[in-house]
Structures are given as C-alpha cells and as structure tokens.
C-alpha cells in the first residue's frame, strides 16, 4: 500500500477505563491529499478533535497508523513528533491562543523562532505575513487590543510562519461574526489554491462547506459520510 501524504489507517482511540471507557475513534481510515481543504463535521463527541489531534501528532492511536508527509508518525518518540510539528504542521485554534504579552508582530515572529528561522529575518518575515492579512496598522498591538477577527488573522499568520505544508484548524470561525468568519474561510482557501497547502478544518459552521473540497461527517467515532471530490 502506498504511503499517504496525510491520513490514518484503521485508527482507534479510546479514553478512560472500565465502564467509563469512551471509544473516540473506531477503526477509521481517511486520507487527505496534498493541496486540498477538507472539512470535518459531526456532533460533539463524534471524534473530530481526536482525529485532528492525531493528524497533528498530538495524540497517538491505540491501534492503527498515522501518516504525515508519507511517514508513519505514531511510533515516533515525543521528540520525534515535536520535530514533525515544527517542520510540517501548524494549527489554528478556536480561542486563537495568541501569546498575551506579545504584540501581533512578536507573536508571528515567535512562530518563526520556533521553526528555527534565522533571527535576523524573523521580524521582517512576520511583518510581511501580517501585511498580507491586512494588519499593517496592528503590528504593535497586543492581543487584547485586537478584534476577534484580527486575532484569528494574526493566529493564521503565526501558523504560516516557517511555511508548513499542513494546516489544521479547530473551529477557526466559531468565535467570529459572520463577516470575519467568511474572511477567515477565504484566507484558508487561498492557502490551498495559491500555496498548495493541505488544510483540514474541524467546524460546525456550514459556511465552510462551499470552501471545502470534501466534507467528512463523523458520528460516534466512525466516518458516517464523505461528500466531495476525494
């Protein structure tokens, strides 16, 4: 079987023990092709975030295999998975998770620092990214001085620092109003179309469906439905 760019094979994950045991994913196999935007939907507890955590090397399955850029990562050590995250994967969160004491510019520059970019160019590259997202006049503002939409754009800029090929987003529009949410959808879609990144979005927001190449619906830890070209 050819190795997948990004995906899981017959992966199962459960949490807790005895009667409290919850099977979050049950023998799920999914592939995510390079340069696509996939949408993961489903009710709460259906396993969406668990799946995203596995794809992001934050969680190992009890059974099955996780592939990132053709490499089986679930047998790697914690340090090995950290390196995969550093080089290939980035995240966008519902709660933005910006560093509260740093300005927008420094938040993005930190993204470059984590990914080992040369110290001399970090600030310039961070500035360029923020300019691309229309934040030229917000560079020196701290997160608490930004609107939710601006915060999410800073978070996306930080996620793109170091040019990771895979972007995993957990409810990226849940905390935003309609206009800001739509803007974020467009930004992530452009990352696929212009940069060839692979984007996986977990969301309850139906607006995402028209931006996604494929929509996967999970229910009770199983794939219930896949709609789209892949």
């Amino acid at each position: 079987m050819p190795k997948l760019f990004l995906g899981i094979e017959e992966a199962s994950v459960s949490f807790g023990q005895g009667e409290a045991r919850v099977r979050a994913l049950r023998d799920v196999s999914l592939t995510f092709e390079k340069g696509t935007l996939s949408l993961l939907m489903g009710p709460s507890g259906s396993g969406k975030t668990t799946l995203l955590s596995m794809l992001g090397c934050l969680l190992s399955p009890d059974k099955g295999t996780v592939f990132v850029d053709g490499e089986a990562v679930n047998e790697l050590s914690e340090a090995g998975r950290t390196v995969i995250r550093q080089k290939k994967i980035s995240f966008v969160f519902q709660a933005f998770r910006l560093f509260h004491s740093l300005s927008a510019l420094d938040n993005v520059a930190l993204g470059f620092e984590i990914r080992d970019a040369a110290a001399s160019g970090r600030e310039e590259m961070a500035r360029d990214l923020l300019l691309q997202f229309g934040l030229a006049d917000k560079l020196n503002l701290e997160p608490n001085e930004l609107s939710p939409g601006e915060k999410q754009r800073v978070a996306i800029a930080r996620a793109l620092a170091g040019n990771p090929p895979i972007l995993l987003a957990d409810e990226p529009t849940a905390s935003l109003d309609a206009e800001a949410g739509k803007n974020i959808c467009k930004i992530l879609r452009r990352q696929v179309d212009d940069q060839g990144r692979t984007v996986v979005v977990v969301s309850h927001d139906p607006r995402w469906e028209k931006f996604a190449d494929r929509t996967i619906t999970l229910c009770d830890g199983r794939v219930e439905e896949q709609v789209g070209v892949l």
């Binding site: 975030t49 995203l52 955590s53 992001g56 934050l58 969680l59 340090a79 950290t82 390196v83 995250r85 550093q86 080089k87 994967i89 980035s90 995240f91 969160f93 519902q94 709660a95 998770r97 560093f99 509260h100 004491s101 740093l102 420094d106 520059a109 930190l110 993204g111 984590i114 990914r115 930080r158 996620a159 957990d170």
Partner: protein
C-alpha cells in the same frame, strides 16, 4: 527570548515581588559576607600586623586576646635556636581605664617591642614617633567616643598608673566591644604590674637561609611546654576560635544562608505562579513545535532575568549600607570581589527556584490546545 521578558514585565506586581526577593537575598548575603570577612580579618589583625615568622604562646592559647604569661627563659632558649635572628615580645591584658573626667571602663591593653613589625601599632614604630614620648598610648579613631579625650595629648590612668594618650590611629578598632590601647612593651608590663622579663607572646624572625618549618620543629623539641606556631597557623587558630568556637561565625553564616533560602522561596513561588498562569501558552508553544529545550529556556530565562535585575538592585542597596555600617561596626569589610561573587549564588538560586516551574512547563500536554 522576548516572550520570557514580556511575560514577566506584563505582570509588574509579581515581577516586583520577585526582584525584591532576589534583592533582599543578595543584600543579606553580601552584608553577612562582609561581616564574616571583617570578623575573620579582625580576629587575627594584630597577628597579621607583625612581621614575625613564628609565634610562641603558652600551651593551649586559642586566640590573641587570651594569652597567658610565659617564663622569661622561653625567650632566651628560643633565641639560641639556630636560624632565629630576632625575638620580640607582645603582651595583652584587660585593664581599667580612667578618663580625665574620671569615667572608668575596661580596655584591652596591647604592648609590643619595637621590632615586632612595621605595621604593628607601637609608638616607636610610627613615622611620627619622634613627636611622641616612648611610652605614649595610642587608640583607634573608631573608639574615640569610648576613650573620651577632648584633645591630645591627654593624661589618663590605666590600672591606676598615669598614662599619656598621644595619638589616634586607624584600622585597629574595637573588635570585642572593648577598645584597644597600644603602647610600648615596657610600658604595658608596667601598667599590668608584671615582671619586665615576662612575655605573653614571643615573636621570632627566622633567617632566610633556614626553613621556617625546620626551625619550628627544633623549637618544639626544645620547648615542649609551650605552643610554637607559624604566624599563619596562629592567625588561623585565632580566626577559627572566634568564628567557630564562639559560634559568632555560625550566626553570621546562618543569616547569609537564611537570605539565600528566603530568596529561593520567594523566587520559586513567583516564577511558579507565573508559569502556572501561562501554562496554556506553554502548551501552545509545544503544539506549535517548540522543543523541550526551547520551553525550558523561556522559564529559566525569566528566573535569570529576575535574578540579574534583583542582584543589581541588591548590590546598589548593600554597598552604601556597608559604607554606612562602617561607622557602627568598624571591622566590617567587603572584599572587592564579594559583591560580584554573590551574583553567582543569586543566579544559582534563581535557576534552582525555576526547577519546579520548568518541570511543570515541560510536562504540560500539548494536546490540551484543543480544549476550549
């Protein structure tokens, strides 16, 4: 490491407490260190001031201040040992001092032969000795209040003998709370009512062509009833007596260690609180691919930044304080290297204090980033 700096600056209240804790620890360590250093120096100051190679004392004498009389034949026998080129006598006893206005108090009276050493405060040895009588009495400027004379020379009484206070000197202030008075050996024994041939300490100079330790061995064989010590040995013995046997050094050291521990607890608490407050950010860092070393460096940097700033503030406060303290404790002494050297334990203290915080930051699960 901008994140480290910004995180601590963002919570100024906590940052101030941390810096204050470090400053306090550095202040206490340097101040107590200066007390200890000065105490050690003062405990052997008069021994160190002599130019002699060997000191002969009565058996079991622990410190300069507690000498007892030696038989006069000891000096004669010592002078006959090959290699001994010169012998001098030093005596010390507590005496009753009576000021010109009739006020009485106890003083430590020290008498020495002229050959005892260039730095030893003896009237005959001072540069302006010609302006003084051979039996002049000297006192340290820091003891002026206790000596209580308005002008020099002043007629006073020592053990009911008339004496002439003629000069103030510096660097030989009271160490036991009792002021020192210095005079010639012959004058001192007169005030002490002891025989002129008796000595309390016999100081010997050794010819350079002889080994000091060999001469010391010969003296020990010839004079088994007394202690024969090199100058360094007697100085060390005296220092150990005052610092260890009296417990004074222990008390000073305890205060310094206490300063270190208080600093450790304060820094540890505040760095830990800061780390726990930002624990979600450490999880985010790890999720974004930050290595364990990267995360540890941030926490450690926070502790070290606080350590550096606290150390500087502590030093800025302690140096003038020591200078002021010299007016109250004349023997306090801060060696030039002490303030700088105390920065090392303070940074070590901060590093130590950050261990628990580093551990917390390193063990946080990156997977928690998806929990709202």
């Amino acid at each position: 490491m901008k994140l480290a700096l910004q995180n601590i600056l963002h919570d100024r209240g906590r940052f101030s407490v941390t810096v204050l804790g470090v400053s306090f620890a550095v202040f206490l360590m340097v101040f107590q260190g200066s007390l200890l250093s000065g105490f050690l120096q003062a405990a052997s100051r008069l021994i160190d001031a002599s130019d002699s190679d060997i000191w002969i004392t009565a058996r079991g004498v622990q410190a300069f201040e507690f000498g007892t009389a030696l038989e006069s034949r000891v000096r004669e026998m010592a002078a006959g040992v090959p290699g001994v080129t010169d012998t001098s006598r030093v005596c010390m006893a507590f005496a009753v001092y009576r000021t010109p206005v009739g006020k009485q108090q106890v003083v430590a009276l020290v008498g020495a032969d002229p050959g005892v050493g260039r730095r030893f405060p003896v009237p005959d040895r001072l540069e302006s000795a010609g302006e003084m009588s051979p039996d002049a009495v000297l006192y340290d400027v820091s003891d002026r209040k206790q000596i209580d004379v308005n002008e020099l020379p002043a007629e006073v009484e020592i053990n009911r003998h008339r004496a002439s206070i003629e000069r103030e000197i510096r660097g030989y202030g009271a160490f036991l709370g009792v002021p020192f008075l210095f005079t010639s050996y012959r004058n001192a024994v007169r005030y002490m009512d002891s025989g002129p041939e008796q000595g309390m300490y016999i100081l010997l100079r050794v010819d350079q062509s002889y080994s000091i330790s060999q001469v010391q061995q010969n003296l020990k064989q010839r004079l088994p009833e007394v202690d024969v010590l090199t100058q360094d040995e007697f100085a060390h013995k005296s220092r150990m007596y005052w610092t260890i046997k009296t417990g004074a050094g222990g008390a000073i050291l305890t205060a310094a260690v206490l300063g270190f521990l208080i600093g450790l607890v304060v820094v540890s608490q505040t760095i830990y609180a800061n780390t726990m407050e930002n624990i979600e950010e450490y999880a985010t860092l790890k999720a974004l691919g930050a290595s364990q070393a990267f995360v540890a460096r941030i926490v450690l940097s926070q502790a070290l930044i606080c350590g550096m700033i606290g150390s500087v503030l502590g030093l800025l406060a302690v140096i003038p304080s020591i200078n002021y303290a010299k007016s109250l404790i004349p023997w306090i002494h801060a060696p030039w290297w002490l303030p700088g050297a105390m920065v090392v334990p303070s940074l070590a203290m901060c590093s130590l204090a950050s261990i628990v915080s580093v551990r917390s930051a390193l063990t946080v699960e990156p997977g928690r980033v998806f929990r709202a």
